[in-house]
């Protein structure tokens, strides 16, 4: 078990700055997920923690120890690769025991630990096979088993489920959550799948352009995104952004309005009277129907209706020609080309730059 502390961590490849100063505290036993768009530096940051990528600046402490210049093996970490990276010439047993055999762990202890890991992952019957004789899901288990056997302070996962099919991914996701509960170990998990991030994480770190955009629990990020990037990145369908004008500010509340929408009161977040802003509203917070006094209201022509069973996605074009998407839990009587009207609570909307 170990805590982690990243202070001003930087990484450049030649003249390209990929990680531009990341500060992060990870508590012992926490499940932290790095999310962000492709190329934002998630893998690079993880590999810096693992010791596979040199650190160009800042400090990395694992379990209180400065680790900047330590070899991976000295950091007490284990990593699960997206490609599994199993040794093709070794059996599952030898793959899992490789690390222990290298540091001359006694045979009996090695055997006990490999079998224990195999039991946890329910793959005792696979121990004598070669990786080529396993399915993708089974290979993934072996890769996780290889990490468990080493009893690391920190588990590092780089998109471990992205090579699996959708159904298996859901199963493995639940197993990983269970594994985290059973082992109680610190885990850092990279993904660009926000459902994985939302379901697994104690704490999500949203990265973009080599910088941390926001750190928080899944619901914190969902309800209170600090900027437009996080707001747009977390949640599906994507949050709607409507251009609005700030008409007046009183205390920390601002009155905003646009062509298509009457004035409503939302938190001002530092905006001043006369500013232009974007009003972010999640599709899930748009309810069909007429707005009551003080509520926001948006209406327009229906351009798309998608019935997903549990919810219906409706896209409308407002009179100002803005596309707004709503997700409603019921199957509404709607038709393409008709009009629809939605209302929302101003408290669920956010102003962004």
């Amino acid at each position: 078990m170990a805590s982690l502390s990243l202070a001003g961590l930087k990484k450049s490849f030649g003249a390209v700055d990929v990680i531009k100063g990341v500060d992060l505290e990870v508590k012992d036993g926490e499940f932290v997920v790095f999310v962000g768009p492709s190329g934002c530096g998630k893998s690079t940051l993880l590999r810096m923690i693992a010791g596979l990528e040199e650190i160009s600046g800042g400090e990395l402490h694992i379990g209180g120890r400065l680790c900047n210049d330590l070899e991976p093996r000295e950091r007490e970490i284990a990593m699960v690769f997206q490609s599994y990276a199993l040794y093709p010439h070794m059996t599952v047993y030898d793959n899992m025991g490789f690390g222990l055999s290298l540091n001359k762990t006694p045979k009996t202890e090695l055997d006990a630990r490999v079998r224990e890991a195999a039991r946890i992952l329910k793959m005792e019957h696979l121990l004598e096979r070669k990786p080529s004789q396993l399915s993708g899901g089974q290979r993934q288990r072996v890769a996780i088993g290889r990490a468990i056997v080493r009893k690391p302070g920190v588990f590092l996962f780089d998109e471990p489920l992205s090579n699996l099919d959708a159904a298996l991914r859901v199963d493995m996701r639940m197993e990983l959550a269970k594994l985290h509960r059973e082992l109680g170990a610190t885990m850092i998990y990279v993904t660009h799948d926000q459902i994985e991030a939302m379901t697994l994480a104690d704490k999500i770190v949203v990265l973009d352009g080599g910088l941390v955009q926001q750190v928080g629990s899944p619901m914190e990020l969902y309800k209170n995104p600090v900027n437009k990037f996080v707001a747009g990145f977390i949640g599906a369908p994507k949050m709607n952004f409507l251009p609005v004008k700030v008409q007046s500010v009183q205390g920390d509340m601002a009155s905003v309005a646009s062509e298509a929408m009457g004035p409503i009161l939302v938190r001002s977040r530092g905006f001043k009277s006369g500013d232009s802003a974007l009003l972010g509203i999640r599709p899930q917070y748009l309810k069909p129907g007429k707005a009551a006094e003080g509520e926001g209201s948006i209406g327009g022509k229906i351009v798309l209706v998608e019935r997903l069973g549990t919810e219906t996605i409706i896209a409308i074009d407002t009179p100002a020609n803005e596309r707004v998407v709503a997700s409603v839990p019921v199957d509404m009587e709607l038709s393409f080309g008709g009009t629809a009207e939605f209302q929302f609570a101003p408290a669920s909307a956010h102003l962004f730059h």
Binding site: L52, A78, M79, F81, S83, P88, H89, F98, S132
Partner: protein, 291 residues
């Protein structure tokens, strides 16, 4: 169209069969027939049974040629493998200027053996060769290959390594590049030192490529001819002959086609033996490493 009987398929396969038959099988059979007869120019062949084989196998010149060949095979092929492996690993480790160096390393393969030998004869000339001059400047003994048989054999061994190193190198280099990078990263995380990674990851995964390279090189080296013929012509006093040169001498210097044919078959059988042994090893290893 479905072909029910094998007989119906034969006409379609026949061209291949005829080609193999006429190009490989018939000449081979002719050589077998030749090896069982005593024959020379202007003399009709007479059947002598296995006499030719007995004669060849008990000829001291043949035995010396065989000894020389085996020495060259063992010395040259293994040294070449070690060099090729070392270079492949060096290249794969991200050597700067890799592209230019790759061309330089592969160049000998494009050089005709005749030119290579001419070059080497000049470089190592006992009187005026630049390498000889450098060796003596460094205080090292010179290679007196035109006079001293053991020196000549060393020269031939070095030349054959120089000529064939690109082959061994390229096979091993390609195999090394085919090993995914993340296996080495996983090994580092597992706590492997670079030497551990070499021993436990690189070597087992290069195994099949090493066996293939060795197999080909044993067989090529066993048939070594031009290096020897162009360098020493087997001299002085037949002391540096190899089996292929012995065969050539029998056939074209002494016009003894029967014994030459017998020598050829002895070579083929020896190569086959080697090949079978190695293919067997290879199968075992590939089955063991199935991936």
């Amino acid at each position: 169209m479905r072909l029910n009987k094998i007989t119906e398929a034969i006409p379609f396969l026949a061209p291949v069969q005829i080609l193999i038959l006429s190009v490989i099988v018939i000449p081979s059979l002719y050589v077998i027939w030749l090896s069982l007869n005593a024959s020379s120019f202007g003399q009709s062949a007479t059947f002598v049974g296995l006499d030719n084989y007995i004669q060849v196998l008990s000829d001291p010149a043949f035995l010396r040629a065989l000894g020389n060949t085996v020495m060259i095979v063992i010395f040259a092929v293994h040294l070449e493998l070690a060099l090729g492996l070392g270079m492949a690993l060096l290249f794969a480790s991200g050597l700067p200027g890799r592209r230019v160096l790759l061309v330089a390393v592969l160049a000998p393969y494009a050089v005709s053996e005749v030119i290579a030998v001419a070059m080497w004869r000049f470089l190592f000339d006992p009187d005026v060769g630049p390498v000889t001059a450098m060796l003596s400047w460094l205080g090292l003994p010179m290679l007196d290959w035109s006079f001293e048989p053991s020196h000549a054999l060393i020269m031939i061994g070095l030349l054959t390594i120089w000529l064939h190193l690109p082959f061994t190198f390229i096979i091993l280099y390609a195999a090394r590049l085919a090993i995914p990078k993340d296996l080495y990263e996983a090994a580092r995380i597992d706590g492997a030192t670079p030497f551990d990674a070499f021993k436990k990851v690189t070597m087992p995964l290069l195994g099949p490529a090493i066996v293939v390279a060795l197999l080909f090189r044993y067989i090529f080296a066993f048939r070594i001819f031009s290096e020897v013929w162009l360098m020493t012509q087997g001299g002085p006093a037949r002391s540096t002959e190899v089996v292929a040169v012995y065969l050539y001498q029998e056939a074209f210097s002494y016009n003894a086609f029967g014994t030459a044919a017998a020598t050829a078959w002895i070579m083929v059988l020896a190569s086959l033996l080697l090949a079978t042994g190695y293919v067997f090893l290879l199968r075992k290893q590939v089955a063991g490493n199935a991936h």
